[in-house]
């Protein structure tokens, strides 16, 4: 699904201008890094795509649908096409790794036998099979991140949004996570990754959209993380 953000302005009350006249097109299967300092609008941009936020001006089209026009039930079905990896993982602490994955499939009414099959498959793929009965707090940071990615991708979304997926991880684990994300992208899933991690942007070069003060200051294919521009 193509993402089109057209002339979007977002103002939060009373007068915080989070995004100023943003226009971006992200074709299906693209991999985009959103870079920029804290408060530059990266997270707001991602939340426009999940429709947690609506633009004050302009419009967001995903797969040709104007997100503002979605009703509650349509929004639910639309969100099944989107996977989200949160910066703080947001795993459910009272559920085991296995249950954290089955829960999101149950929530969209998937048949039980398919849930088991897919959960086992993804646990194996993410290297979490042996840790499946542990609770999130018993997992390492990298394992929690892998579990969060597994949860976001288990329902086979067309778009994956990842907010600081390598934040608080050591370099080796960050690389491991990036390889997983690239393998997901290779299957045709669109990836939008908000990051502060210069190493991964420069090492795994993809399209880079740099934001500052709610404006796009750079949109470059196979771009680099440029400290002067991006911070």
């Amino acid at each position: 699904m193509e993402i089109k953000i057209e002339g979007v302005v977002k103002q939060f009350p009373p007068d915080i201008l989070a995004l100023r006249n943003i226009t971006i097109t992200i074709p299906q299967g693209d991999f985009v890094y959103l870079v920029g300092p804290t408060g530059s609008g990266k997270t707001t941009l991602m939340r426009l795509i999940t429709r947690e936020v609506v633009p004050t001006k302009g419009r967001v089209l995903v797969g040709g649908t104007d997100l503002r026009k979605l009703g509650m039930t349509d929004l639910a079905y639309y969100r099944r096409e989107i996977g989200v990896v949160f910066q703080d993982f947001r795993l459910l602490p009272h559920l085991t790794a296995y249950e954290n994955l089955t829960f999101v499939q149950e929530a969209i009414g998937m048949p039980r036998d398919l849930i088991e099959e897919r959960t086992n498959e993804i646990l194996d793929k993410m290297g979490l099979w042996r840790r499946r009965f542990l609770y999130p707090e018993q997992l390492s940071g990298g394992e929690q991140q892998r579990l969060a990615i597994a949860r976001a991708t288990i329902n086979c979304p067309s778009i994956l949004l990842a907010d600081e997926p390598t934040g608080n991880l050591d370099l080796q684990t960050a690389e491991e996570i990036m390889k997983i994300l690239l393998s997901i992208n290779a299957t045709g899933t669109t990836l939008v990754v908000a990051t502060h991690n210069q190493y991964i942007v420069d090492e795994f070069r993809q399209r880079v959209i740099s934001l500052r003060g709610g404006r796009i200051i750079r949109d470059e294919r196979k771009g680099r993380f440029e400290i002067d521009d991006d911070f």
Binding site: F12, T50, R51, E52, V53, V54, M72, T73, L75, A76, Y77, Y78, R79, R80, E81, I82, G83, V84, R90, L92, F103, V104, E106, A107, I108, G109, M110, P111, R112, R151, N155
Partner: protein, 295 residues
């Protein structure tokens, strides 16, 4: 089918996760529905008693002991348009009826040496409005010594019945409001305890109905189960209570039909289900709407 199973399982998970709260809500709903059914039965009995008195609305004219007096009065009054029927009651017949009405306490009558009851004429009227006219007519007859009629009593009881109905309706409304509030708050606490789960569910594409249903089912089950228990309590104790009341007040016309209590039981369960459903839905849908509302 998977969705249905999930909803059922999740509803039971909600109950077991907050056992104490669920139990307290159940106890409250039992108390509320017990109070509701008691007030309904109270009103029904009052109405039954009043209706009994109204149906027995007749004028009893006590006549002189002369054998022909009763016959004469019956003939004269029977010709009036507003009179439905006339019945002569001999002293022996009157004593027999008294025994029947006293029931278990009929033995008291045996203490009497002679039958002190005078002959009488029972005049049943077509219309309660004709009571004063017929009463005046009877009092003008020389054979008539005294007259007794329940018209005034019925009117007073009707006023009392209307007051009791209004009061009971007030009790019913307050009790239902309390019950509804308790169910609403229980579900709301459950919703807030799981708000993170709900937010994630909504973000990954769970429909509002799917998120809300386990909570709605939880509230409906507690409420209807509470009503079921309250109904059972009322059903199995009503007969004993009415028997005890009838033994001490045999002259009052209590409602003895258990099928009415059974109907009330079904009504309570239906009411419990409805109240639980509405309150839970209100509690959860408000949260879901807010969670899905974009900023």
């Amino acid at each position: 089918m998977t969705t249905f199973k999930y909803i059922l399982r999740d509803a039971f998970r909600l109950m077991t996760r907050n056992v104490t709260l669920s139990f307290l809500t159940l106890v409250t709903t039992v108390a509320v529905f017990f109070l509701v059914s008691c007030s309904i039965l109270f009103v029904m009995n009052i109405r039954n008693i009043v209706a009994g008195i109204e149906n027995n609305l007749m004028i009893t004219a006590y006549v002189t002991k002369d054998k022909s007096s009763a016959q004469a009065v019956a003939e004269k009054i029977g010709n009036l348009e507003c009179v439905d029927s006339v019945k002569i009651v001999t002293p022996d017949k009157a004593l027999e009826e008294l025994r029947a009405r006293l029931g278990n306490q009929a033995d008291v009558v045996t203490l009497l040496d002679d039958n002190p009851l005078p002959p009488s004429v029972e005049i049943r009227l077509k219309d309660a409005g004709a009571v004063p006219v017929v009463a005046r007519e009877l009092l003008s007859m020389e054979e008539v010594e005294d007259i007794v009629y329940a018209g005034e009593l019925a009117r007073r009881l009707e006023t009392l019945s209307a007051f009791v109905s209004r009061f009971s309706f007030g009790v019913l409304v307050i009790a239902l409001a309390v019950g509804a509030l308790v169910v609403f708050n229980t579900i709301r606490i459950g919703v807030y305890a799981r708000r993170e789960e709900i937010e994630i569910m909504l973000l990954i594409g769970a429909t509002p109905g799917f998120v809300a249903f386990p909570f709605v089912l939880h509230g409906s089950l507690i409420s209807s189960f509470g009503a079921l228990l309250a109904g059972a309590g009322v059903y199995f104790s009503y007969e004993r209570v009415v028997s005890a009341l009838m033994a001490s007040m045999p002259f009052l016309n209590f409602m003895t039909d258990q099928s009415v209590v059974m109907d009330l039981w079904f009504l309570l369960v239906g009411g419990g289900l409805t109240v639980g459903w509405i309150c839970s839905w209100l509690a959860v849908s408000k949260f879901v709407r807010r969670a899905m509302k974009p900023r």
